[in-house]
């Protein structure tokens, strides 16, 4: 079975083979590695040997992604096996539709940058949430139309509280969207 991994812009697929007690991984570019991933205790720590090179790593596995910590870095890897990918393809592309932008942490809304009916671009600041002594801009998760603004400056919100609702925006021209 193939495994598909995506770390930022690095996309790879892997197949596995057991040979004389060793685990062999073959990457889509043809490179192969003898690997040994040995769990240390039960907290997600591993000793990871790759062709004799050693890495102290942490894997936190969640639904569809694994957060990998190694060499001082933290990388979120989207990971699926063939079956999962097939199942996802059957489910088809969901699209955005109406969705809620929620407070990722408790805090105070110090500024609201949009109004209902505004068209916003991906990453555009919707409002500013102050928490832990810092001002945190809350961005749109894609090109969208603001369906509803649920907060005003001064509001205290808990984590998960609704801030703004967005609707899919009509497709922008190819040039503007890329």
């Amino acid at each position: 079975m193939k495994y598909f991994a995506k770390a930022l812009d690095v996309e790879r697929s892997f197949t596995f083979e057991r040979r004389n007690g060793s685990l062999l991984v073959v990457r889509d570019d043809g490179e192969s590695f003898v690997v040994d991933l040995s769990p240390v205790g039960d907290g997600g720590a591993y000793s990871f040997l790759v062709d004799g090179r050693s890495f102290d790593c942490l894997l936190e596995r969640e639904q569809g992604t694994t957060v990998v910590q190694l060499l001082g870095e933290r990388v979120v890897v989207a990971i699926q096996d063939e079956r999962e990918l097939a199942a996802q393809r059957v489910a088809g592309h969901k699209g955005g539709g109406r969705r809620a932008i929620e407070a990722v942490m408790p805090g105070v809304v110090v500024d609201v940058k949009v109004a209902e009916g505004d068209t916003v671009e991906d990453g555009q600041t919707l409002c500013i949430l102050e928490a832990m002594k810092m001002q945190n801009p809350i961005p749109a998760d894609g090109r969208a139309v603001v369906a509803r603004v649920a907060v005003k400056p001064g509001d205290v919100v808990a984590g998960g509280d609704l801030l703004v609702e967005l609707d899919d925006a009509p497709e922008a021209e190819e040039g503007a969207a890329s």
Binding site: M1, Y3, A5, K6, A7, L8, V10, R12, F14, F16, L23, V25, R27, F33, V35, L37, P39, D42, G43, G44, A45, Y46, F48, V50, F55, D56, C57, L58, L59, E60, R61, Q63, G64, T66, V68, Q69, L70, L71, G72, E73, R74, V75, V77, I79, D81, R83, E84, A86, A87, Q88, V104, M105, P106, G107, A131, M132, K133, M134, N136, G159
Partner: protein
């Protein structure tokens, strides 16, 4: 052993700085009193102190910022002195005053010194009088073109034209040569009138490639002031320092001596007693007064490591009327990395419970933190989790040591700023020593291809092993032990892949 200088110190703070003070107090034979909010009942500063007093609810305004509650706790616990740490009440002149009135020694400067340095305008005036250089500029608008040209030449190009009514960077124009000055001035006036209804503009030197460099001083009650060298704090984002080092790689011995001398003059000008930091803007061989912090600074440990002094001990000593020590010959190079609970990409605070913790160690590594496994990182307080401080023979080794210590530091439960700090330390710009406050914006935030490839491989192997080890048709009797992870993976597979 001689009798302790104080009987009992109350620390009007929390987190790593409270622990920092408790440790020195214990080593000096002084008992410690922790105060805590409801959120901090199990905090490390409470557990490590000799006494602990609850002072209120989780919000700082209900606890750590309450002068009355802190003083009541001091009276209740019989404390004869109070250490304010940094933040919270540390630069509150009224608190210093209230301590004095309650007959409890405040381990910091007088209310008068705090007030003078806390007021930006007054602080600049005092500094100017004490011969501490300010950023050159004019205090008033100049309408006469000839005078404007003359003054700009005096200040030296590039200069800035700033709207008098402006603020937050609005209405600023930078002029790089005399030929552009008058045109720029008339445009700036027009803009200022449009934006603020006020066309007055000021002239000020535009500081190119500024560095933030600060001098640590400790002053005693007898007029003695010692400067413990400088700290370079230019690795910042949103005015929050992330990495500090000492010494500053840009300073010559002459500039260092001049900067230390200026800091001592300022301290004497306000009859300063205690530990304080004078912040300067440094640019191309010149330095200008920014402000004075009338308390212990977060990054004080890099000074301690180089000089082999304990600045909290010095605070106790000068508060007890002893003379401040002489500065020993500094040794080697020290770097501090602040470890904040935040997303390394967007600097959002990250909340959660510390599920796993592995701290760095070995030679030249000091960790000041109140972290423990099980700690809840809440939104109530500062996001700084730990200060990783390294000290080594030379700057190259200190950088290498800081990076290897970051690689050893494992925190699971919240994301931290460590990867950003690591990439900054590892950058050509930082290694060269020739950097400024813009460095973090120029740092590549993307992990290397090597790391991304490895992470992809590790994630794939992890998933393969978890998937593979579940028997296809498990029977209760023969089933091997299944970890929670395997169960998660199975749930995932059953719930999604196999549907």
């Amino acid at each position: 052993m001689s009798p302790p200088l104080f009987q009992r110190v109350l620390i009007a703070n929390r987190g790593e700085i409270a622990l920092r003070v408790i440790r020195t107090a214990r080593e000096m034979g002084i008992e410690s009193v922790a105060v805590y909010s409801d959120a901090d009942r199990n905090a490390l500063h409470v557990r490590r102190a000799d006494h602990a007093v609850r002072i209120g609810g989780s919000a700082p305004s209900d606890s750590y910022l309450r002068v009355d509650a802190v003083l009541a706790a001091a009276r209740e616990s019989g404390a004869d002195c109070i250490h304010p740490g940094y933040g919270f009440l540390s630069e509150n002149a009224g608190f210093s005053e209230a301590c004095a009135e309650a007959g409890i020694t405040f381990l910091g400067p007088s209310a008068d010194a705090i007030r003078k340095m806390g007021d930006k305008v007054e602080a600049r005036r005092v500094a100017d009088d004490a011969g501490v250089p300010l950023v050159p500029g004019l205090k008033d608008d100049v309408r006469d073109d000839a005078v404007l040209i003359e003054k700009a030449a005096e200040i030296g190009y590039p200069v800035m034209l700033k709207a008098a009514a402006g603020g937050g960077g609005k209405g600023i124009r930078i002029v790089r040569a005399e030929k552009d000055l008058l045109a720029a001035a008339s445009m700036a006036r027009a803009e200022a009138r449009g934006a603020f209804g006020d066309d007055r503009v000021y002239l000020e030197k535009f500081v190119t490639r500024p560095r933030h460099v600060e001098v640590q001083i400790v002053a005693d009650q007898h007029g003695g002031v010692t400067a413990f060298g400088e700290r370079e704090c230019s690795v910042q984002r949103r005015h929050q320092k992330l990495v500090e080092e000492s010494p500053c790689p840009a300073l010559t011995p002459e500039l260092r001596a001049a900067m230390c001398e200026a800091a001592c003059r300022l301290a004497r000008a306000v009859d300063y007693v205690g530990a304080g930091t004078v912040e300067f803007l440094y640019s191309e061989g010149a330095f200008y007064f920014l402000e004075m912090n009338t308390r212990l600074q977060v990054e004080h440990p890099i000074t301690e490591e180089r000089f082999g002094v304990d600045l909290v001990r010095e605070q106790f000593r000068v508060a007890a009327g002893l003379p401040v020590c002489e500065a020993p010959e500094p040794r080697g190079h020290a770097i501090e990395v602040r470890v904040n609970a935040e997303d390394p990409d967007n600097f959002f605070p990250s909340l959660g419970r510390i599920r796993r913790l592995g701290v760095p160690g070995g030679q030249g590594v000091r960790l000041d933190s109140a972290l423990f496994r099980g700690l809840e990182v809440t939104p109530f307080y500062d996001s700084m989790l730990a200060k990783l401080v390294v000290h080594a023979e030379d700057r190259d080794t200190a950088i290498a040591r800081a990076i290897r210590a970051i690689r050893e530091f494992r925190i699971v439960g919240v994301t931290t700023s460590m990867p950003v700090a690591m990439r900054a330390l590892d950058s050509e710009e930082f290694r060269s020593g020739d950097y400024d406050t813009g460095i973090l914006e120029r740092i590549d935030r993307r992990p290397s291809d090597k790391v991304l490839e490895l992470a992809a491989l590790a994630a794939a192997v992890g998933k393969f092993l978890a998937t593979e080890e579940i028997p296809v048709a498990p029977s209760a009797a023969s089933r091997p032990p299944i970890s929670a992870w395997n169960l998660l993976d199975r749930a995932e597979r059953l719930g999604r892949g196999m549907r």
